[in-house]
Symmetry: C2
Subunit: 239 residues, 2 copies
């Protein structure tokens, strides 16, 4: 793990083949990293070549367009990653992680972008867990050997990896128990285009209750604005 | 009820004698309105002349400094108000409203600033209700003759009534079922100093699930910033 100012040529494992995973994978490829995308079944994933209702590519199509990314079965994931990114759906996270060898995860930094969104009653979603706990905390508690850094979960994919899409200031929150892991993630965020001043370290992993519970406001702003190209800025500039 | 561009000389009932009620009352007095503050027991309220742990005045002290405000027992509240402001603690709202005559509340616009904060386990608070409902919705459902407009509940008192305290843009959200009521509240917000472009109408009253569930993030930002003089801005300016 590099903690210098530049993060280069990292070996990164992304869990999740959806729009979030694809956006992160594309950005990380463009930055010269080795990108591995974990999936339940590579063959089945490669067969998904349609666009979905949201206009997002199936992972099969995406891999065709990005052949340097390595699609890999969860069962075949090996050791030696510099960073793991959790871009799974909130409902799947805990069961998928339980199926991955402890050796793969041991002592690894994981950027957790997942949100416990429950779409079972349609749109807008509610949260499957909240208030007295959070998904970030549950992952950290079940996998104490992971260094979880919750980040980017309040922001739409295009802005996650290209914050300069928005004119003017806006904020990315990070939560986590390990200072070194947060420093590493901050460097990664800066390589995406985030400025130091835009990164708001809320504190330990329990503070991600706040960012996960922000999602119900996000989805309603999205409903009103009709576009995911927005973010919030924390303005504390008193006159 | 005036729906012209200027709202003058309104007869306003504020429920709640705490810091939020006082901030609103002071601003409304300065704008020339008649301000009535409802409380359970006027005599007991007037005896509260100390500052609390947060440095806020007891309502007895505040009334001494603002003698044109009218402190009134909930039981003695009459009809004829142009606007009601709910600045009660979230835990008290439903029981206090149940004790007020239906005639007082009938067909009235109510700005609901309350949040269902539960401090029973200390700071930071959790929410006593959230996710599948909200306090704003519960008030609207129990008192269907009120026109509830949820607003200002995501913002600290000083900024609620003086948005120009912050340099640069920031946002106030409104939620409610009645367009005319939201228009009236928007005029009131503008009289406080809010710009039209800063007022974000999220939609019907169910959208206040989003703003109430924002509080867990607010309290953690407050914990980190060490000051309540901040707010969020919704930035949707794509380049």
């Amino acid at each position: 793990m590099s903690t210098t100012n530049s993060i280069i040529n990292q070996n990164i494992l992304i869990l999740g083949t959806g729009a979030v995973g694809q956006a992160l994978a594309g950005k990380l490829l463009s930055l010269g990293h080795q990108v591995n995308i974990g999936t339940r079944n590579v063959k089945e994933s490669l067969s998904r070549t349609e666009k979905d209702n949201w206009g997002n590519s199936g992972i099969g199509l995406w891999i065709k367009e990005n052949p340097t990314a390595n699609l890999i079965n969860f069962d075949d994931i090996g050791r030696g990653f510099d960073l793991i990114i959790n871009a799974l759906s909130g409902q799947a996270v805990l069961s998928v992680l339980s199926g991955i060898s402890t050796e793969v995860l041991d002592n690894k930094i994981m950027i957790d972008i997942s949100n416990p969104l429950d779409f079972s009653k349609g749109f807008p979603p509610s949260l499957s867990i909240c208030n007295d706990t959070s998904l970030g905390e549950q992952i950290q508690a079940e996998f104490p050997f992971l260094k979880i850094v919750k980040a980017l979960n309040t922001i739409s994919n295009p802005i996650m990896v290209n914050p300069k899409l928005l004119e003017g200031d806006h904020t990315v929150f990070v939560s986590g128990n390990e200072a070194d892991a947060k420093s590493f993630v901050s460097l990664m965020l800066k390589s995406f285009g985030w400025e130091e001043s835009q990164i708001f370290d809320l504190g330990d992993i329990t503070t991600c209750r706040g960012t996960e519970m922000f999602l119900p406001l996000w989805v309603r702003m999205f409903g009103k604005l009709g576009s995911p190209i927005f973010n919030i800025n924390v303005n504390s500039k008193s006159k």
